[in-house]
C-alpha cells in the first residue's frame, strides 16, 4: 500500500529522517512509535506529500508521491485521510460543516445524503448531538473526535493518525482506540498511528515500528517488541529514564555552564 524507500529528510542542516525504509501493507493497522522529535509526524507528512524527501522515494499504491505534480498529488490525497495532532478543524465552520467539508468538496451528493453521512460519522465518534456547535464551543478532546470523523468522511484507503490519544480522557481514549481498530477492520483501510502511547498502540495494532533519532530501531508485532531485549526498545517500552536514549539535549556540563568548579 505504502512503501518508503531509503528516505532521508531534514530541515537545513538538521536531519530528521535518515535512510528510512518502511512498508505498510494494505488492511493492516500499524503503529509508528518513538520519542518526541524522532521524525514520526514528518513520516506522515512525507506520505501525504506535504514535504518532499531530500533523497529516496515514497510509493502509494504503486504510484510515486510526487510533490511537483499537483494534480497527481491531489488525486492520491483523495484516497488519504489524516487526523492532525491538534485536530486542525476549520474554526469558522460548525462541527457538522467540518465533517461535511470533504464531502462537499469532492462529491456531487445531495445535501440530504451529505447530512445522513455526516450524522453517521459524528454518531460513530459520539458527537451527533454536538453537530450544530461551533469549534470554539467544544473541548480539545471533542475537537479531536470531530477531526477523526472528518478524516474518515470519504472512507479513505489509508488513514493516518497523528497522536490520536493525546489529550483524551480515559473514556474517550478507550472509545477512540476501539473506533480506530473497528474502522480499520470494517473498511479494509490501512491505518498508520503515530504515537508514543505504547500501551494503547500495542492493544490495537497489528505491527509496530519503533523510531529513534530519525531511524527505525526495531519493528515487529507488539508481542515481539515487548519481548525484545534490545536496550533502546526496552527503554522506550518500559519508559526507563536511563538507557541509550538520553533525556537531556546535548550540552556542556552544567558545572561549567554555571561557572562552578567541581
Amino acid at each position: 500500500m505504502v512503501s518508503i524507500q531509503d528516505v532521508t529528510f531534514g530541515y537545513d542542516s538538521r536531519v530528521v529522517l535518515s535512510h528510512v525504509s518502511l512498508d505498510f501493507p494494505r488492511g493492516r493497522l500499524i503503529a509508528i512509535m518513538g520519542s518526541s522529535g524522532c521524525g514520526k509526524t514528518t513520516l506522515l507528512r512525507l506520505i501525504g506529500g506535504v514535504v518532499t524527501p531530500q533523497s529516496g522515494r515514497i510509493l502509494f499504491s504503486g504510484a510515486a508521491v510526487d510533490t511537483s505534480d499537483r494534480v497527481a498529488l491531489y488525486a492520491l490525497r483523495r484516497k488519504m485521510g489524516m487526523l492532525f495532532q491538534f485536530g486542525a478543524l476549520f474554526t469558522d465552520l460548525s462541527v457538522f460543516d467540518n465533517v461535511a467539508f470533504p464531502l462537499r468538496e469532492h462529491s456531487d451528493l445531495a445535501e440530504s445524503m451529505i447530512r445522513d453521512i455526516v450524522l453517521l460519522k459524528l454518531d460513530s465518534v459520539g458527537l451527533r448531538g454536538a453537530a450544530a456547535l461551533g469549534i470554539a464551543q467544544i473541548s480539545g478532546g471533542m475537537a479531536r473526535r470531530v477531526a477523526l470523523a472528518r478524516a474518515v468522511a470519504l472512507d479513505p484507503e489509508i488513514i493516518m493518525y497523528d497522536e490520536p490519544f493525546t489529550g483524551l480522557d480515559p473514556i474517550s481514549l478507550g472509545v477512540t482506540a476501539n473506533l480506530i481498530r473497528r474502522l480499520n477492520d470494517a473498511t479494509g483501510a490501512t491505518s498508520l498511528i503515530v504515537s508514543h502511547d505504547v500501551e494503547e498502540c500495542f492493544q490495537i495494532c497489528d505491527y509496530a515500528y519503533l523510531m529513534s533519532a530519525g531511524r527505525v530501531i526495531a519493528h515487529g508485532t507488539p508481542e515481539a517488541l515487548k519481548a525484545s531485549e534490545e536496550p533502546e526498545v526496552r527503554q522506550f517500552i518500559r519508559g526507563e529514564p536511563d538507557g541509550p536514549v538520553k533525556f537531556h539535549y546535548p550540552a556542556a556540563p552544567i558545572a561549567r555552564e554555571l561557572g562552578i568548579s567541581a
Binding site: R77, M82, F84, A88, F90, F101, P102
Partner: protein, 262 residues
C-alpha cells in the same frame, strides 16, 4: 569586513530580495488564475465581500464624513479669498473622486480589512488548517485565498464610492447648511466640472488597482507568515506598512499617468 565579503553579502541580499519578488509574482499569477475559477462558487466570494466589505463600511463612512467636513471648511477659507466660495462643491468632489476617496479608502482598508485577512490566513496556517485542507486534496489558494482576493477587488471601488459620497454630503452640510453657500451653485458647479470618465472613472480605476495591491499583499504576507503567534503579529504589521507605502507609491504613478496634462 573585507571588500569581498561586503560585496558577497550585498549580492546575497539582492538575490534574496529578487527571489522574494519572483515568488510573490508567481503567487500573484496563481491567485489571478484561480480568481476566475472561484467564480464558479460565487457564495464563497459573497461571504468574503460581506466580511471585508460590509464590515468596513462604518469606518469608511465615518472617515469619509470627517474628511468631507474638514475639506469643506478648509476649502471655503481658501476659495473665499478669491471670491470663489461657490466652487466649494466642485473642489470637494474633485478632491474626493480623484485622490482622497481612493487613497484614504485604500489606507483604511489596509488597516481594517487587510490586517484581518493577514491574521486570519496566518492563524489558519498556524492552526494547520491550510495543511489539513491540502491533505484533503483541496487547494487553499482556490478555496480560501482566491475568493478573498476577488472580494477585495470588488469591495474596494464600492467602499471608495461610499467614502466619496459621504464626504460630499458632509461638505454639503458644512457648505450649504452651516456657511450658507447657494445650494444650486454647490451642485451645479460640481455637475458641470466633474467628468464621469476623467475624474470618477480614473478614481474608480485607482480603487481597483489599490484593491488588487492591498488584498494581494494581505494574503501573501499572511500565507508566508511564520506559523507562530510572533510570526502572525509581525505579518499583520508588515501588511499595514507594505500596503500603505504601496498605495501611496502607486497613487503617484497613477496620478502622473492620468492627470499629467491639464
Amino acid at each position: 569586513m573585507n571588500p569581498l565579503d561586503l560585496a558577497a553579502a550585498l549580492g546575497r541580499g539582492i538575490i534574496d530580495r529578487l527571489a522574494v519578488l519572483g515568488h510573490a509574482a508567481l503567487f500573484f499569477a496563481d491567485l489571478a488564475r484561480h480568481m476566475f475559477s472561484s467564480l464558479r462558487r460565487p457564495q464563497l466570494t459573497v461571504t468574503q465581500v460581506h466580511a471585508i466589505g460590509n464590515r468596513s463600511l462604518v469606518i469608511i463612512a465615518a472617515s469619509g464624513a470627517a474628511v468631507g467636513l474638514v475639506l469643506a471648511l478648509q476649502g471655503y477659507l481658501t476659495l473665499s479669498r478669491y471670491g470663489q466660495a461657490e466652487s466649494l462643491g466642485l473642489l470637494v468632489a474633485l478632491a474626493l473622486a480623484r485622490e482622497l476617496g481612493p487613497v484614504i479608502t485604500a489606507l483604511l482598508y489596509a488597516g481594517r480589512a487587510g490586517t484581518s485577512l493577514t491574521a486570519e490566513i496566518g492563524l489558519m496556517k498556524a492552526g494547520e488548517q491550510l495543511v489539513a485542507m491540502e491533505m484533503m486534496a483541496v487547494d487553499p489558494r482556490v478555496r480560501v485565498l482566491a475568493p478573498r482576493f476577488l472580494a477585495g477587488i470588488l469591495s474596494m471601488p464600492l467602499l471608495g464610492a461610499v467614502f466619496s459620497a459621504v464626504g460630499i454630503l458632509a461638505a454639503y452640510v458644512v457648505g450649504v447648511w452651516m456657511i450658507g453657500i447657494d445650494e444650486g451653485q454647490f451642485w451645479s458647479q460640481m455637475q458641470d466640472g466633474v467628468d464621469v470618465f476623467d475624474d470618477i472613472g480614473n478614481g474608480v480605476i485607482k480603487t481597483v488597482v489599490f484593491g488588487i495591491a492591498t488584498t494581494f499583499i494581505a494574503l501573501y504576507v499572511g500565507y508566508e507568515s511564520k506559523a507562530t503567534p510572533e510570526g502572525v503579529a509581525l505579518a499583520t504589521t508588515r501588511t499595514v506598512v507594505i500596503s500603505s507605502l504601496s498605495v501611496l507609491f502607486l497613487d503617484f504613478i497613477l496620478t502622473a499617468l492620468m492627470f499629467s496634462s491639464p
